[in-house]
């Protein structure tokens, strides 16, 4: 398929691997931020192709993984109510809450529906005026515009029975949190190409300056990722620290101006708790006050739920790149995709599940 096959081409991969061997003289640790990239790296076994001196650290860029457990519990509590239709993307339905998951609620008669687009949720709300329709939406800047559009449309169509339970997270503040932590030692970043497709990359320029670290906006195919690593290493070897764009075919400096305008109309920046990491200041979106009628947390007066995480799960360390999944004592034993103890094992983009699927232990 056009724009996919070319970026999986063996000849180009071979060229990149050779070039990487040539230019790498020192040890470098590079973090790929996005779970989609982690998935590609494990699927194509890209770490095997890299010079031994380069290690890839898998970052926190899986929104399913970093959504707090209590938030999943809130979605479950809503889905259990008989007058509510809960809609979400497929990957949220399997995430275990503290006692159950949404698929389980559905099996027990709850009206839980998997949707492809947020506009499907709007349609469901129009067709079921006697029910409340809640869209459970998480995600980074890539997904936030779709959720913003649903709220915008609900307002325009004057839908009173639609609301969103949303917990959006933002990438640059997470990068900053990782860089300012003394535990984490990363020398280069592959920034998430699809987040930047929406947002552009201006926000990364002050980060690269402040922390003297190369940030390369990178795509998701194997050629993209190796190219992103190569551009990072070339910078590192020559002492540079710039923002560079590997994913020029879709990412521009200013991003998608229209989508950003909509985001700004619907959302405002807020502090967010990241599962396994903790609260990061200004790292998420919430609905602006003028759209609060569409906020499911307010509408259904959801109480704060206190929950306990599994004691053996080291998801927090995994999400910050401090430990590899197989260093967790539960990996592949008590914890597997069929029976996940922590969120990185749930989503196929989570580092633990990616390692499990492609059974890679070294």
């Amino acid at each position: 398929m056009k724009y996919i096959d070319e970026f999986r081409n063996a000849e180009l991969i071979g060229n990149l691997v050779k070039k990487l061997l040539q230019v790498t003289t020192q040890n470098w640790k590079i973090m790929e931020v996005c779970g989609g990239q982690t998935h590609t790296i494990l699927k194509y076994n890209l770490e095997e192709l890299l010079p031994k001196k380069i290690s890839l650290i898998h970052g926190p860029g899986c929104p399913v993984c970093v959504t707090p457990l209590e938030f999943i519990d809130k979605a479950i509590a809503l889905a259990e109510q008989s007058d509510i239709i809960l809609t979400s993307f497929g990957d949220m339905l399997r995430v275990p809450g503290s006692k159950s998951d949404l698929l389980n609620v559905k099996a027990q008669g709850g009206d839980v529906r998997m949707i492809y687009s947020t506009l499907d949720a709007i349609k469901i709300a129009e067709e079921n005026q006697n029910k409340e329709v809640v869209f459970f939406g998480v995600g980074f800047e890539t997904t936030a515009p779709a959720n913003a559009m649903a709220v915008y449309e609900a307002q325009r169509r004057n839908l009173k029975n639609f609301s969103v339970l949303c917990s959006h997270v933002l990438v640059p503040p997470a990068i900053e949190a990782l860089l300012s932590s003394s535990e984490v030692s990363i020398q280069g970043f592959l920034a998430a190409g699809h987040v930047c497709t929406v947002m552009g990359y201006e926000q990364y320029i002050p980060l690269a300056e402040k922390y003297k670290i190369p940030i390369v906006i990178t795509g998701f195919e194997p050629v993209d990722i190796l190219n992103g690593v190569l551009l990072s290493v070339i910078q590192l070897e020559s002492g540079k620290y710039e923002v560079e764009n590997q994913y020029k075919r879709v990412v521009t400096k200013e991003g998608n101006v229209q989508a950003k305008k909509l985001l700004d109309e619907i959302f405002e920046v807020t502090d967010r708790k990241w599962r396994g990491i903790g609260t990061i200041p200004n790292s998420g979106y919430k609905l602006r006050d003028r759209y609060s009628a569409f906020d499911a947390e307010l509408k259904f007066n959801l109480k704060n739920i206190e929950v306990e995480e599994s004691k053996i799960c080291i998801a927090g360390k995994v999400l910050q790149g401090l430990k590899k999944p197989f260093e967790c004592s539960a990996f592949g034993k008590e914890c597997s995709p069929e029976h996940p103890l922590g969120a990185p094992m749930v989503s196929t983009e989570g580092a633990c599940a990616a390692y499990f699927h492609y059974s890679k232990r070294n």
Binding site: N15, T142, Q258
Partner: protein, 85 residues
């Protein structure tokens, strides 16, 4: 979650100015996609689609340029090798 897939725009429906839609072909599978954020989109162009929304157009020139650079990387290599031998 951030998965986005390239597809080719087959037709554009601008009947609703607040919600411009398009039929997009993903390797034989047709889907309705919201293209509201791409004001100058044309039929035949490729878009990058995430959860039913086109995030941006795919710039063919940039794609070819990236591929060209990576191809040449190998050509240079081969030339150097043949010079040595």
């Amino acid at each position: 979650m951030c998965l986005a897939v390239p597809g080719k725009v087959i037709s554009i429906d601008e009947s609703n100015p607040e919600l411009k839609m398009a039929k997009v072909n993903f390797n034989g599978v047709m889907k309705n996609v919201c293209v509201q954020w791409l004001p100058d989109l044309m039929i035949g162009e490729y878009v990058l689609v995430h959860v039913g929304f086109a995030l941006n157009k795919i710039d063919e020139k940039e794609a070819l340029e990236t591929i060209q650079i990576l191809k040449e990387m190998g050509d240079l290599e081969n030339n150097e090798e043949s010079e040595i031998t």
